[in-house]
Amino acid sequence: MVAVRIHELHKSFGAHEVLRGIDLEVSGGEVVCLVGPSGSGKSTLLRCLNGLETATSGTVHVGDVEMTHPDTDLDAARRHIGMVFQHFNLFPHLTVLRNVTIAQQRVLRRSRRDADRVALANLERVGLADRARAYPAQLSGGQQQRVAIARSLAMEPALMLFDEPTSALDPELVGDVLAVMRSLAEDGMTMIVVTHEMSFARDVATRVVFMDEGRVVETGPPAEVLRAPRHERTRVFLQRVLEPGRDIELR
């Protein structure tokens, strides 16, 4: 089953062409890690997948829904596409529990009771059921990101998008978030993950996609792309990322 199909996707901001013809298919249950230098268009690509950005041309299908079609009800489509942001974007005026229930109630029209039950189950899953009554500001960054994951999972998404979910975290908090993502992957969730965590890509990804300057440069199983990249640009990027002394390393 094809979960995501991207065809000839272009995106420009004014005169600046950020995506220059992306073609990519992701099957159900795949974990695709998107890597590439800063500014290469990874976030923009992810945001085109759930319609936070409008493509300039080309098509994006998620399941049977063509996200790029002008008649598509994007609000309805987004219910089934979870998104996790670099800076968590939890709702600071709501408790952890309300963060996880509000969209269930307002969007899926679940009762308070059902929403609470689903929320607590998902908070349990990310190891934070005991913090349900806390406010986001009272949590560490790693805990906040796990709540953000639970908030998306509570909508029972068919696809999860992660945009550098651990880049804003202190190094000692990265592991907990990656562990949650790893367990999600083991449960068969279809995931597209923008990350600089090469160990995660190596261990969890079914496929690594290397992007540069708005194009997919190469794609393949992590063992191939990360160990024996075919393209010079991939090699240069990986060397820089894996260079000792940088905070990102292949463990």
Binding site: N50, L52, D75, F91, R106, S152, M155
Partner: protein, 273 residues
């Protein structure tokens, strides 16, 4: 060279000079107080402003009618201004250009007009223009609209700033959970924006409290009278200024705690909650 670096000859050191000028400032202040204290006719002052019997006769009416009406007018005008101001703020941020133009024009016009002129316009202009209709609620309705129309212009700008101060990521997170744009605005962005603008909105409430002193121009009755008009009437009857002091104290009893509240809220916001 060495001559340039040598400090200029001075009779006093820097510290002594500072102490002297500070001392002079205190001296001037004390002299001023002394001058007023010695030259003022305290007996006449007390007689003009602090006549106990005049003050006593104002109660309870000054509170049960005048202060209550002042607060009622304030609340009504504030509520109208808040609701209409919110609509204007949303119009100002709308993707539909004519809404934006209307809101921008409204805000510019009504911030540029005196509140008294707008009150006249609503109180007398509208009845003249629409003789077969009237604003419901009598003078209360006219005040709500007449003062609220001006308040809405200020409130709209305040709310717009508050909405724009909520990080973009908040509405993006809400949208990516499937919320529609209006839903995200109502459930996620506005509650945070209102928190941000509580201090300036409270200041707007304080301004409105004072602006209700204009209401008398609409012609109020014994039942709809507010503080300033009430005090003015007693002033005329008794030919004594004590009612102004009483009314002033009652205004301050409302506005000072609110101003204090604003200061506390601002300090809390500055600490980052």
């Amino acid at each position: 060279m060495t001559a340039l670096l040598r400090p200029p000859a001075r009779r006093l050191g820097m510290r002594a000079r500072r102490r002297l000028s500070r001392g002079a400032a205190y001296l001037v202040f004390a002299a001023g107080v002394l001058l007023v204290g010695l030259t003022a006719d305290w007996g006449r002052l007390a007689d003009a402003f602090f006549r106990w019997d005049v003050a006593r006769d104002m109660f309870p009416g000054v509170v049960t009618t005048a202060l209550v009406n002042t607060l009622l007018y304030t609340a009504l005008a504030f509520a109208f201004g808040l609701v209409f101001g919110l609509l204007l703020a949303l119009a100002r941020l709308s993707p539909v250009a004519p809404y934006r133009w209307f809101a921008a024009a409204y805000v510019e016009v009504f911030r540029g007009l005196p509140a008294l002129l707008v009150l006249f316009l609503v109180g007398y202009g509208i009845p003249l223009a629409f003789p077969d209709r009237e604003i419901p609620g009598g003078v209360y309705g006219s005040v709500a609209v007449g003062l609220g129309a001006t308040a809405a212009a200020y409130t709209a700008e305040t709310l717009r700033a508050g909405i724009q101060a909520v990080p973009r990521g908040q509405s993006e997170a809400a949208r990516s959970l499937g919320m529609s744009a209006p839903r995200a605005m109502m459930s996620i962005v506005l509650p945070q924006a209102l928190r941000i603008v509580t201090p300036p909105l409270t200041n707007e409430f304080v301004s409105l409290t004072k602006d209700t002193s204009l209401v008398y121009v609409l012609g109020v009755t014994a039942g709809t009278i507010e503080l300033t008009k009430y005090a003015g009437d007693v002033l005329n009857q008794r030919v004594n200024a004590t009612p102004l002091v009483v009314a002033g104290l009652l205004y301050l009893a409302v506005t000072l705690p609110l101003s204090q509240l604003v200061r506390v809220l601002e300090r809390r916001a500055a600490r980052g909650r």
